[in-house]
Point group: C2
């Protein structure tokens, strides 16, 4: 069998992939879901915030009558760790075209008490029911072809911040936003990359929640180092993504007072803007 | 007394103004606040979403140990009306520099049952404790001087969408984003204005929650008409605003599938970016 055909045959698909298995929640009772948070989505020992949002998003999709997160707002309370967790969901309102829910993810302290990690409000709808109409003229980010972008495997030494999650992502950074990895940050609050799952699973609304929080922090290109913990992250999923790699562009306009925002846009291979997000994060001004 | 001195003497101040009186909540019990929603902040019979967010923001400021909303995310469930309402708050987590809370605003149906209007998650801090550091080079929006911008009183006929709230705002629109009022929308998703309270009360973090949702919808400049109801609105308050009028710039990049986002930036007279917001709203594609 030619290599290309072999690669296609073993490619993971939506519903049967590591991302699907690692975000799967088990309903223990109505509105109560168990999950073992995977160590595979950690970055510098913290569980990635986008992966956690996808876990909460799956529990809400099971709870609410609509399948897709149109807008989901997460406030990150305490750092999550790989291991057992429970998600508790609540239906806030159900409507014809939109329903709203709330969810919290908890882990356990040494005495077995639940400690809340993240609380989420979200409004769900059905993306397949939306008209195909696009009225704006926004264009995809200018980013070189995939084979001219660079990932951790291309670096002479491991790229700072790489961790378990890097093995599960197809992440190829625009060389124009890679200065930080070479010790020469551009000073601009920009980060751009091609994004996919390493096993070839195509994107869906749930994996878009991961895509918006998977690039290195724009703070690196602004000359800062170290962890940039998310305080709040809101994602708008605007359209079902077409198959193939996504382009993700992140912009920061305001690094001030020890905080910064990160605005992400995600574009699919059909040149549709499929998701937008904004997060408020803490920066260490050193 | 010269007219200018008279105007200064009667100018409202933070804490003693119509905005303060109309957002004041009365604590009935811990975490339970009563308010009579004012008819003064309505637009086409709907109570303005930014005014409602300020009401919720005040209740949370009373509940949480920190005074200022750093990031507040609201999901709008049902339309609010002038009249009695109750706000219920909950402390989710308290930390040294940030605390997180939740709040809901309810009104009453014909049988006196509570109907939830809005649910909010917010993380509060103390803006006065933040370092003065600004690392980015974002610049204020290009907008002509205040006396070259236009408000409802300048229009030959009432500007579409004007209502009670117009009397309480000092809102002067950039002529470049005023085409819709003259029947010639620009086709660009932009709206810019000088913003203040009509009684001269200066801005504070609470009134910034109003400022981000007080301009005409960008959808008007994209050629759409009618109401553009907010599904979700998240505001980041980044700095205490300096006295004087604010500049508000709103941008829409993606009007598609019957929804659009509105990104707002609010700049103060010291040229500091004091707030950023993003909302997801429904658009009627006709």
């Amino acid at each position: 069998m030619p290599e290309a055909a072999s690669a296609r045959a073993t490619r993971a698909v939506i519903g049967d992939s590591e991302f699907d298995r690692d975000t799967a929640v088990t309903r223990r009772a109505p509105g109560v879901y168990d999950i073992d948070l995977s160590a595979g989505w950690t970055i510098i020992n913290a569980v990635n915030g986008g992966y956690l949002l996808a876990v909460l998003g799956r529990a809400l999709a099971d709870t609410l009558p609509h399948p897709d997160p149109f807008t989901i707002s997460a406030h990150y309370l305490t750092a999550s760790h790989p291991g057992p967790a429970v998600v508790r969901t609540q239906t806030v309102r159900t409507g014809r075209s939109l329903s709203t829910g709330q969810a919290s993810l908890y882990q356990y302290d040494d005495e077995g008490n639940e400690v809340e990690r993240i609380r989420v409000l979200a409004s769900y709808g059905d993306l397949t029911t939306l008209p195909d109409d696009v009225r704006t003229t926004a264009t995809p980010p200018a980013i070189p072809p995939l084979d001219q972008c660079f990932g951790p495997a291309d670096a002479p030494a491991p790229v700072e911040g790489s961790s378990a999650i890097a093995d599960r992502l197809m992440l190829k950074l625009d060389p124009a936003t890679l200065g930080w990895a070479l010790g020469a940050p551009s000073g601009k609050g920009e980060m751009r990359a091609w994004f996919g799952l390493a096993d070839g699973r195509d994107a869906d609304p749930l994996s878009l929640l991961l895509a918006v929080d998977a690039l290195p922090p724009t703070a690196f290109e602004l000359g800062l180092k170290g962890w940039v913990p998310t305080v709040e992250l809101t994602v708008h999923v605007r359209r079902r993504p077409a198959p193939g790699p996504l382009r993700v562009s992140i912009t920061t306009r305001n690094l001030a007072g020890g905080f910064l925002e990160e605005d992400a846009e995600v574009w699919d291979t059909d040149n549709h803007l499929v998701a937008q997000s904004r997060q408020l994060a803490r920066a260490r001004l050193t």
